[in-house]
């Protein structure tokens, strides 16, 4: 009897041991946490610079490159940072903030794209191309956030202006959005470069 008990317990133990790899593989997988490489940050920088160039071209294409003296978009991200701040950026909060800001710009550009198509504006195809590049950058950024477990900041739904009735209203909205996005891209590209140089140090 004792022998039987011993043998059954050892059998049970063996069975459990055999099941262990299966059990562990069934648990939800956590991605391995490691910081982005230089190449990852270079890719983010290049994607951002490309977007900056697309934005610049779109601004140049328009009939006027005016001074923004109106604020149609109340919920656009604004960068209050100074050049000095670039040297003290931290990886995780920076990635999270840039991701949230990009999502916000994405929403705003989708709105602009919709009204531009409605007005049959010539910039509509380029806007569409730009939105797809924004989405691509958001995906790359999100991938890096997952790798370092950076928290995702919730983006409040943007407060968008009423659809423009006139062509010039749409031009003004477009200018405001594009000029602010160009500034954002400039900041973001420098932020990625700064993070990269910190990793080197």
């Amino acid at each position: 009897m004792k022998l039987l008990l011993d043998s059954s317990s050892s059998l049970l133990f063996s069975v459990l041991l055999a099941q262990l790899p299966l059990l562990t593989s069934a648990l939800p997988a956590h991605p391995r946490r490691h910081p982005p490489t230089h190449a990852d940050l270079d890719k983010l920088t290049n994607q951002t610079r490309h977007l900056q160039k697309l934005t610049h071209d779109l601004i140049s294409d328009q009939e006027f490159d005016s001074v923004i003296d109106h604020h149609r978009f109340k919920s656009l991200p604004a960068i209050s940072s100074r050049a000095n701040d670039l040297s003290s950026l931290e990886l995780k909060p920076t990635l999270s903030q840039l991701h949230a800001d990009l999502k916000s710009f994405e929403h705003h550009f989708e709105w602009l794209n919709k009204v531009t198509r409605k007005h049959h504006h010539s910039s509509a195809p380029k806007l569409g191309e730009m939105i797809s590049h924004i989405k691509s950058l958001i995906t790359s950024l999100h991938r890096q956030m997952m790798r370092v477990e950076a928290p995702r900041i919730s983006v409040p739904s943007p407060s968008l202006p009423p659809p423009p009735s006139f062509h010039w209203e749409m031009d003004q909205s477009s200018q405001e959005l594009l000029q602010k996005f160009r500034l954002f891209c400039d900041w973001a590209a420098r932020a990625f470069l700064s993070l990269k140089s910190k990793m080197q140090a």
């Binding site: 923004i68 604004a78 940072s81 050049a83 040297s87 500034l183 700064s194």
Partner: protein, 400 residues
């Protein structure tokens, strides 16, 4: 007393006292001035003699002399200056009937503040410098209040280091804000006026010119030059987040056309330098991310000549010989330490030009020689003919 005069300290004291009294004598008029009054040029200005009983008659003087200007509306104690001009400025005094001085007024005339010419420079992401000039000279003591605001936020001071230098600095600005307004308010005794200027920081960003540009030959490479430079001194020392792009321009001395290269590092290799020729090289910079920012001014031009084989130094003629056909008007006549002969075979067009030049020279020489020979021959023939004719004449004249 002799002791006092002989003592140098005493002499100094006497000197200072003398100067002091001389100064007092010359400034005695201004010392009596009790008031400064400012007036607008071209307008009517009224001076009031204070401390005078109503109805008392006073006598006005300008700089010690009776007032020359007519003042039809002058009452007993006031002086009205009509349509004022600069000649009416000065020290006015009012006196009672007995000539006793009652009051002095210094009158200064000018214009109220107008709009200013404001310009702002952004040499890097850390600094904005604005300066301003009067568009209309006001002739009056003036002070300026400089401030700036972003996106209609609360104004902040633009720091003026020296109060009498029309310049202010915004340090470490929020560079990525789209709207910067710089407000310079001019204040003088006749009023104030604000000039508000919009500054697009990205568009205005203009680095200083690259520093310490050098250019050297590359050993064994007769068509290469290595150009190197430093970042502008005012650019961030750690430029990781602030990359610059550079344009290098180069041309052989005497040529009007620049060739160019672009790079984002502080050096470049020119691969197509003209063999054996002295080159001019210059560099400028622009922020690498902001395409619509400004290019810097050009750096100082530096000179360099590509490497040439020193073993072939003594074989051929001076460089003037083969350089002159290409850039005949402005080519330098200065001989250099290296002969560019060795490089001839490497430059087909150059060799062709030289060959053509030599051929032309030979042809000219041959043609000249033939011409001279023909001329000499003709001359001889002429002499012979002359001699024959002379002898014939002589023979004719002989008696038969």
């Amino acid at each position: 007393m002799p002791g006092l005069v002989s003592c140098p300290g005493g002499l100094i004291v006497i000197g200072i006292l003398t100067l002091f009294f001389v100064h007092i004598n010359s400034e005695i008029w201004s010392n009596e001035v009790s008031d400064i009054q400012f007036g607008s040029l071209g307008s009517n200005v009224t001076l009031i003699c204070g401390g005078v009983q109503h109805g008392s008659l006073v006598h006005w003087r300008q700089n010690g002399s009776s007032v020359r200007f007519r003042q039809p509306h002058t009452s007993s104690s006031t002086l009205v200056l009509l349509n004022t001009t600069h000649s009416m400025e000065g020290n006015y005094s009012c006196h009672n009937q007995r000539g006793v001085l009652l009051q002095t007024i210094r009158l200064r005339l000018g214009y109220p503040p107008g709009y200013l010419g404001v310009s702002c420079q952004v040499p890097n992401h850390f600094k904005i410098q604005c300066s301003w000039t009067q568009r209309v000279t006001t002739y009056l003591p003036t002070k300026y209040i400089a401030s700036y605001s972003m996106n209609d936020e609360r104004p902040q001071p633009c720091e003026q280091e020296l109060i009498d230098v029309n310049k202010c600095t915004i340090s470490n600005p929020e560079f990525w804000k789209p709207k910067y307004l710089v407000n310079i308010t001019e204040v003088n005794p006749l009023g104030s006026n604000s000039t508000i200027t919009f500054v697009d920081l990205a568009k205005t960003l203009k680095p200083d010119a690259p520093d310490a540009v050098t250019c050297v030959e590359v050993n064994g490479k007769p068509t290469q030059l290595l150009v190197q430079w430093d970042l502008p001194k005012s650019w961030p020392a750690n430029p990781a987040a602030f990359p610059l792009k550079f344009e290098v321009q180069y041309r052989p001395v005497g040529s009007n056309l620049w060739s160019k290269l672009e790079t984002e590092i502080t050096g470049a290799m020119i691969m197509d330098a003209l063999v054996g020729h002295l080159h001019h090289i210059r560099v400028r910079a622009q922020d690498a991310f902001i395409n619509h920012s400004q290019w810097s001014e050009w750096s100082q031009v530096v000179q360099a000549r590509p490497w040439s084989d020193p073993s072939l130094n003594t074989e051929e003629t001076t460089e003037e010989f083969y350089e002159s056909p290409i850039f005949p008007s402005t080519f330098p006549v200065k001989a250099t330490e290296k002969s560019p002969d060795s490089s001839f075979d490497e430059n087909g067009s150059m060799s062709l030009l030289i060959a053509l030049g030599l051929f032309a020279a030979v042809m000219v020489a041959v043609v000249s020689a033939i011409t001279i020979l023909l001329w000499v021959r003709n001359r001889r023939r002429d002499n012979v003919t002359k001699q024959e004719l002379t002898s014939m004449v002589k023979m004719k004249s002989l008696p038969i």
